[in-house]
Symmetry: C6
Subunit: 242 residues, 6 copies
């Protein structure tokens, strides 16, 4: 059993390496951050990792790094416990909160915001919008699909003059904002409550630049946060946050 | 007569097999769902089948399956009693309710919603919109055709600046929402009232993965629901729900 | 004179046959309607024919049929008494009412509506819109031409951002709806008042599938409706309703 | 001098003939109007000619005809006294009233409107709109040019999202309508006041089909309307009304 | 020094001749205006020249002509005292007033407006709009650039659905109108106050068709208006008004 | 160490020369400004340089020039202390204020505005808009990304009729204006308070046409403004203002 566990771990290790290369590009050793930027990036990634570890419907964190890769200054990598084909509203809500973790950490620690979280904001806005317009996950909009596959308008596709009324348009915007604002509050509470763990993760990252799962989970345990076990979480596909 | 009945059944059996292949693609034995996903899919399909069986203007259910085919995790298949060239407002309203059956079952049983019903929502929104804008089936909009064949705007086609006024635009949106909300309530009531049948169908599906018409109707009868007979239903073309 | 009359009738007979072929396509003997659909179609066509016969500014009905041709389940054919180059507001208003006759007959008799009248709704909406936007036939909009030949915007043609104001846009929509609603009431009154003739025409159609002008006019006379004579009607081009 | 006058008249006669051919197309002897249509057309053209003769800023009428040419059922032809390179607001206002003369004559005499005036409405709407948006001839809009040469937007030409505000858009629409409504009242008053001349012109047209300037002016004089002389009118380019 | 002055004048004379040819096209001796049109054009150009001479931030008038050139019936030509690379808000405001001088002169003298000023209106509207949307010259809009080089939208360029809000759109329209209305009042006051000079310039133009700078300035001095000297005006590029 | 310092300075000197050539084009010795324009340009550049020197989050000024280069009449050049990969909200706010320095200097000193600052306005509006729509730097809009990379709409990209509601559209416009207005006030206060330094810089520029960093900082020190040292400022990429 231990051997099988071991093989699985080796396979997973290889998987993570190839994900890093394909999704993020090669390491950029020459492209070093200055001291201040390194600090910001460390807190940003620590924010993602901390929120992901406290919320119940996200996948466990496998690696955190502040070594630049491609356009990303740093990244946090999660892996599900087993293959998953479906995602649910509760999982999406926690994913949005986790994506906001980097932005909130920057703001809380430095009282300033960089352009670093701009990709996070794009991803989470898109997700919130799909929840409202495609997946029937907003109580107010109900079970209407406003957009079809690939972002095509479901109705009015060929009709030049057919567009949402101002009312529906404003309802969509308000629901998207509401979803994001609620996730923001959830993530902000976690970062405020666990500020010491955030500092610990960030400081360790500045020191060693990359944290693998075992050391990361040890940090959590030391500060009283129990790492995720298979029983506690629903599986999800591999995801990376910058 | 029995022989003729038999031949008819054989022909129908072949028809269903080819519909499954063409409309859904081949079975995907390697693409297995995890335990939780299997459970969600079983309740989703049971929701469709139950609502279709209780409403008066839908075709009878011939098969329910949670074996993945193409992009669908599962499907429910209905067949009309005889060839049909026309469909009516009452049939469309029941079809919309039946399409919502999967979404409502997921929400009622698990208190969460997946992206599984997204195709259902697209189909039923499109249907409700056509009722309002093309077929004169909304009292409020009256006998105005707002869209022509293939989604082309009936009027203003070539006129860049000619579009519906905000008022008409908002009226369309409100009527579409009203049709869907009323169908939702109808379907929710059926699922609440017949929760035990829903559980029975879903559990049997998890066990055997595919339910053919005879066994499905036996389950209905056991729980006091009389299956559809020719006298009770108006015929409709073959339809499949995911 | 009788010979000339005869020749004229023969010529007209040929004309009608070629109109049927060109405008509707060949008969589709294999594409039979089921019993319920045949009934709906018979009442639908009877609705067109009855309204056309009672209103003063429509052409006389020459033939009614429920034999499927092309995409049409049935059709009603009218012919003007002589060549016509112009059409007037009064003729358009009666044409719109006549087009609604099929829809209203379905709804009155069966309490349900099929997609059958969708082409009627497109034609009459387009007509009502042209009255308002191109022909100065709406008191409220006055003698402004909002659209030019072929649906092109008369003003603002080349001006990307130049479109009707919300007010004008809403006024057009309201005037179009008003024209159609008034025609609806006119047609509904005829069908309610002459329900017995409607039944007689529909039942005879179910029996014989096609009614030529002499037999149709006999049915009208029996129920106290005087068929149109040259003196009573202004001529119009040949028109067919599905 | 008389010889010179004569030569001028001959030249003018040739000019009118070529204008008719080029602007209207050849006579269509085979394309005859029925009796009712002939009557409507005669009153329509008489309406144009009468209003043009009473208003002070239009060119004198040279010919009226109800012989079909190209797409026109009839036409009224005016010629200026001398070459003109400029047109003024007062001339445009009278031209709009004159264009409405045909529509108003139809409505006043028959209590119904045909599609005959649709080209008149397009021309006069376009003219009224240019007065408001290009030539600074609306007090309310002031000396702003909203559109440039050839209908191109003057400002915002390349700017996708730059369009008139709802307020300006509604102001334009209201000013265009106001100009047309005032011209309508002016033309309606002329036709009501001079109804006997209208009848006389129309009846003579039905008899002879074409009225040349001398006979037309004789009809005016008989009914107490003084034909235009050079001193009384500002010259304008050749124009034809259908 | 006198010789140098002389050479400069000769060079300037040649410059003006080539500007006339390139910007306006050749003289059109055959394309004569009628008596009334000549009068209107003379007052139109006199209006431009008078307003330009009274306002402090415009360049001095060098030539006025009512000989047709290209599409222009007449023109007024100004030259700056020295080369200029920048223009200011005060200069633009006076240029707009000067452009309105032709329109106002026509309206004041004849109580009617021709299409002659249409090019003036386009130029001044465009200028006023640029002041508001590109150059930060409207107090209300502030230092926001709403449009970039060449009329391209500065923001939202690639964003289909991103356009100004109704509020900003209405603010722009209102500010453009305010600038033009204030310039109108300024120009109207000048023309009312100096009506005698306007008459003198126009009458002399009808007599001689072209006024060069020395004679024009003599006319100003006679009526108590001091011509511009280098000390009093900021230089600007060569401009022509039609 | 001094040698290394020296080498660094030489390298920086070359860098600045090539930036000037590539970003601005060659010097245009023949394209001289007139006296008034030289004065305006000197104050414009002095405005940029002064505001940049007083605000805490901008890079230090390395060179100011009023020798025309390409389309720019003059320019102010800043260099960061070390390489920078990230920019923050506080830096952007100070950059916007610094960009407004030229406009405010012109207005304060001459009571008039030229088209000179038009490029500044474009750059700063674009920056303010990105802060609101892409980088989550507006409290009111929150952490919603309204636009993606390269100005593409993040949501609604493929959806013809999907655009921001009027409310969101107006909120964006209001937030952009608020950011710019606050930066304006900040810059205006600096220019009012340090008017004597502004005059000193502008006058020296008129004399020598180009100020290098040492002389510029000497001017600041004389007037009691301490030049930036490494400890006080966060680094930023090289930027030029016209």
């Amino acid at each position: 059993l231990a051997a099988r566990e071991n093989r699985k771990t080796v396979a997973q290790y290889d998987l993570i390496r190839s994900i890093e290369k394909v999704m993020l590009g090669p390491e950029r050793k020459t492209h070093v951050l200055n001291k201040k930027e390194k600090e910001i990036t460390a807190y940003h990634e620590a924010g993602h990792a901390l929120v992901a570890s406290v919320l119940p419907h996200t996948d466990p964190v496998h690696k955190i790094s502040i070594i630049s890769r491609g356009r990303a200054a740093g990244y946090t990598l999660k892996l599900p416990f087993e293959d998953k084909r479906m995602q649910s509203k509760k999982e999406f809500l926690d994913d949005i909160a986790m994506s906001l973790g980097g932005y909130i950490a920057e703001k809380t620690v430095f009282g300033d915001i960089t352009t670093g979280p701009s990709n996070d904001l794009q991803v989470l806005t898109n997700l919130a919008r799909n929840m409202v317009t495609r997946w029937g996950m907003s109580e107010k909009m109900g079970t209407i699909a406003l957009e079809g596959e690939g972002g095509r308008a479901l109705f009015g596709a060929g009709v030049e003059g057919a567009q949402y009324s101002q009312k529906v348009s404003a309802d969509i915007d308000a629901e998207v904002k509401k979803i994001i604002d609620e996730a923001y509050e959830k993530a902000q509470n976690i970062i405020t409550e666990h500020r010491k763990v955030l500092n610990a993760i960030a400081n360790r990252l500045i020191e060693v630049e990359t944290l693998e799962r075992p050391e990361f989970e040890q940090l959590l345990i030391v500060h009283g946060i129990q790492p995720k076990r298979k029983e506690e979480v629903e599986v999800a596909p591999v995801t990376v946050n910058f």
